[in-house]
């Protein structure tokens, strides 16, 4: 029976080429729209290399401070790092990165070769929170951070560009601002779509001359890897109590007060509401807003599809009459019509998936930065396969298309099938 359905769908598709093309385009467009939106959100929210632990990450990005007559915010100062974030009970690891990330000229010692590369100053916990794949060598250690060892981790592309291969890079020396750094590890490159972890060169944060500069705030952003997903509230309480102690300590010598606000925040919160603050309401930009945008974008192809399916079924009234004359029951014909649409939808969905990939790849600099100016600051956007393909996302998009299709096809099909056979047979095209 299924073979017959396929055969019939193929015959019908070939017979009505223009209509089939329009139908496939409509479905492909709808699925591509859903997929592009989904890929965007997948990249922002799902576990993506090397941010595979996003569901256990807690961010403490901003250090708000106020005095009687002034206030401000930035990252955390060096002197607060250990008292607030050292040895947290609820943390498996704590990543510290210097926000002063920038592109720097990195040279190869003994050569004129210099590359403008994205550089991050990080601690050893950075390589525990983020799951970098080491293609050669090993991560920066706590001892190396403590002793400001002149070492560096580079990514594969940098290694290949500078030294020809990953293996050849280990033990070689690169220079940053005339400081020689020995390469002790090479990692698979991150994409700039994972901005917290993206860089070409990772250097111990203590190498910078100004690493322990004192001030109300500082350049350090904190990413904590929770022991368990549900530990966020416990961590928040733990950090909050340390803030209180810190404020009491400070209050004895100054009127300076630090505010934790709603930190630490989850990856979801950080993605959709990055600028929340105790001082102003930036609004709640949850995923719901984007879902509505997606639904509106889907509505146009949905209406077109519905009209097209209705027209197709009306045009096939005569065929429906013939089939009923020769023994097809209404339910059987309904099954045939819905299956035909299902097959076309499936084909359209696969085309849509391909179209979405092509569009995302070709226009990645635009697609991924529509609502996110942060990632646009640095070099080219590399797109990994695991960002583009998530079976779950494809099934969701396919499910949405099938739902759309079924609703669009069922009503006109059932309406047509309820007509008397004689009326269907006499339908003029």
């Amino acid at each position: 029976m299924i073979k017959n359905y396929f055969k019939q769908a193929w015959a019908s598709a070939c017979h009505n080429k223009v209509s089939t093309c329009l139908y496939l385009s409509g479905v492909a467009l709808a699925v591509a729209t859903v997929m592009i939106l989904s890929i965007g959100f997948h990249t922002k929210l799902s576990p993506i290399y090397p941010e595979n632990n996003r569901d256990r990450m807690a961010y403490v990005q901003t250090c708000w401070w106020e005095r009687e007559n002034s206030s401000g915010n930035w990252g955390f100062p060096w002197q607060m790092l250990d008292p607030i974030f050292g040895n947290l009970k609820n943390a498996e690891a704590v990543a510290i990165r210097n926000e002063s990330r920038q592109t720097n000229l990195i040279g190869v010692e003994g050569s004129d070769k210099e590359l403008k590369l994205n550089t991050q100053w990080v601690n050893d916990g950075f390589f525990q929170v983020y799951t970098y794949e080491f293609l050669a060598g090993s991560p920066i250690t706590a001892a190396e951070v403590a002793s400001a060892s002149k070492v560096a981790i580079i990514d594969r592309l940098t290694a290949e560009t500078m030294f020809g291969s990953v293996e050849d890079a280990i033990g070689k020396t690169i220079t940053y601002a005339s400081t020689p750094l020995t390469i002790k590890g090479v990692v698979r490159e991150a994409s700039r779509l994972t901005p917290m972890s993206y860089a070409n060169v990772y250097i111990p944060l203590t190498i910078r001359d100004d690493y322990n500069e004192e001030g109300e705030a500082g350049p350090y952003r904190i990413i904590i890897l929770l022991r368990e997903k549900g530990d966020m509230e416990s961590l928040r309480a733990e950090i909050s109590s340390r803030f209180e102690v810190w404020n009491k300590t400070l209050a004895k010598v100054d009127d300076l007060k630090y505010i934790l606000f709603d930190q630490p925040r989850s990856h979801y919160d950080l993605t959709f509401n990055p600028w929340s603050s105790p001082y102003y309401d930036a609004g709640e930009n949850g995923i719901e807003e984007y879902v509505w945008i997606g639904l509106v974008l889907l509505l146009v192809p949905a209406l077109n599809l519905s009209g097209l399916i209705s027209g197709n079924i009306r045009r096939r009234a005569n065929e429906i009459g013939i089939r009923k004359s020769f023994g097809a029951a209404r339910t059987r014909l309904l099954g045939e019509l819905v299956t035909e649409n299902f097959i076309l939808t499936l084909a359209g969905s696969i085309i849509g998936l391909g179209l979405a990939w092509v569009l995302v790849y070709c226009f990645r600099d635009w697609v991924f930065t529509i609502s996110d100016s942060y990632v646009a600051m640095y070099s080219d956007t590399s797109v990994h396969f695991d960002m583009l393909f998530s079976p779950v996302l494809f099934l969701i998009a396919l499910g949405a298309a099938l739902l759309l299709n079924t609703v669009s096809s069922l009503v006109p099909a059932w309406h047509s099938l309820r007509r008397p056979i004689v009326e269907s047979l006499n339908q003029k095209l």
């Binding site: 073979k3 017959n4 055969k7 015959a11 019908s12 070939c14 017979h15 009505n16 005569n318 065929e319 009459g321 013939i322 089939r323 009923k324 004359s325 020769f326 023994g327 097809a328 029951a329 209404r330 339910t331 059987r332 008397p420 056979i421 004689v422 047979l425």
Partner: protein
């Protein structure tokens, strides 16, 4: 015992503005193996009668009994199955499915009977061979002449071996020579295979060649 019995059949078509009585208290019986012609002027209710007899339409009043089964007692599925097993239709305008090949068109009744692909192909090829179209299996209806299309329609009507063939002006769209060939085919189906045939026609000569002629005027049977 009659194979087809129409008892006090009336058919009233209603629109918002007008009511039309297409059939008025019609009684008719057809015996097994009979070849009956239905004649009358256009609009007298011949095709309506054939549609009701073929269970393609329901009468406003009266009962249709075919081979002992009362049509009014059958639901959609049973009606579909009954049509599939007992009735074969030949229409004036052929009513072939344009998107399907000749072979696929003839297979349509067999698909709904649940017959497997291989057996379907064999049965359809055999009957297409009988109507002289074994060399047109992969053609589509648009690639055939009117006479060939009607042969395909006849093949489709008989492929499931129904007891009854209902033909609505089967030669109406054909020239006289091709029409004669089609009539020959129908007569062979009647005499050789013993099928019961009810045929609507305007052609007195063709009607005269059948076992019995039933005449209609203004929805009433006159003869």
């Amino acid at each position: 015992m009659a194979l087809i019995t129409l008892d006090k059949i009336s058919k009233l078509y209603r629109t918002k503005e007008i009511e039309t009585l297409a059939l008025d208290n019609v009684n008719l019986t057809v015996d097994p193996g009979e070849f009956v012609s239905v004649m009358g002027p256009s609009g007298c209710g011949k095709s309506t009668l054939l549609n009701i007899m073929g269970l393609l339409d329901r009468p406003t009043e009266g009962t249709v009994t075919i081979d002992g089964s009362k049509a009014s007692a059958l639901g959609d599925r049973e009606l579909a199955r009954f049509r599939n097993e007992n009735l074969g239709f030949i229409f004036q305008s052929f009513h072939l499915i344009e998107s399907l090949s000749v072979l696929d068109n003839v297979e349509v009744p067999l698909i709904y009977r649940g017959i497997g692909a291989r057996q379907r192909h064999e049965m359809a090829k055999e009957v297409l061979d009988k109507v002289g179209l074994s060399n047109r299996l992969k053609h589509h209806p648009s690639q055939l002449s009117g006479g060939q299309c009607q042969r395909v329609a006849i093949a489709r009507a008989v492929v499931g071996n129904p007891k009854i063939i209902l033909a609505d002006e089967p030669t109406g769209n054909l020239d006289s020579k091709i029409g004669a060939e089609i009539m020959n085919l129908l007569h062979r189906l009647n005499t050789d295979d013993g099928r019961t045939i009810v045929m609507v026609t305007h052609n007195e000569l063709q009607a005269a060649d059948t076992d019995r002629v039933v005449r209609f005027f203004d929805g009433r049977r006159t003869e």
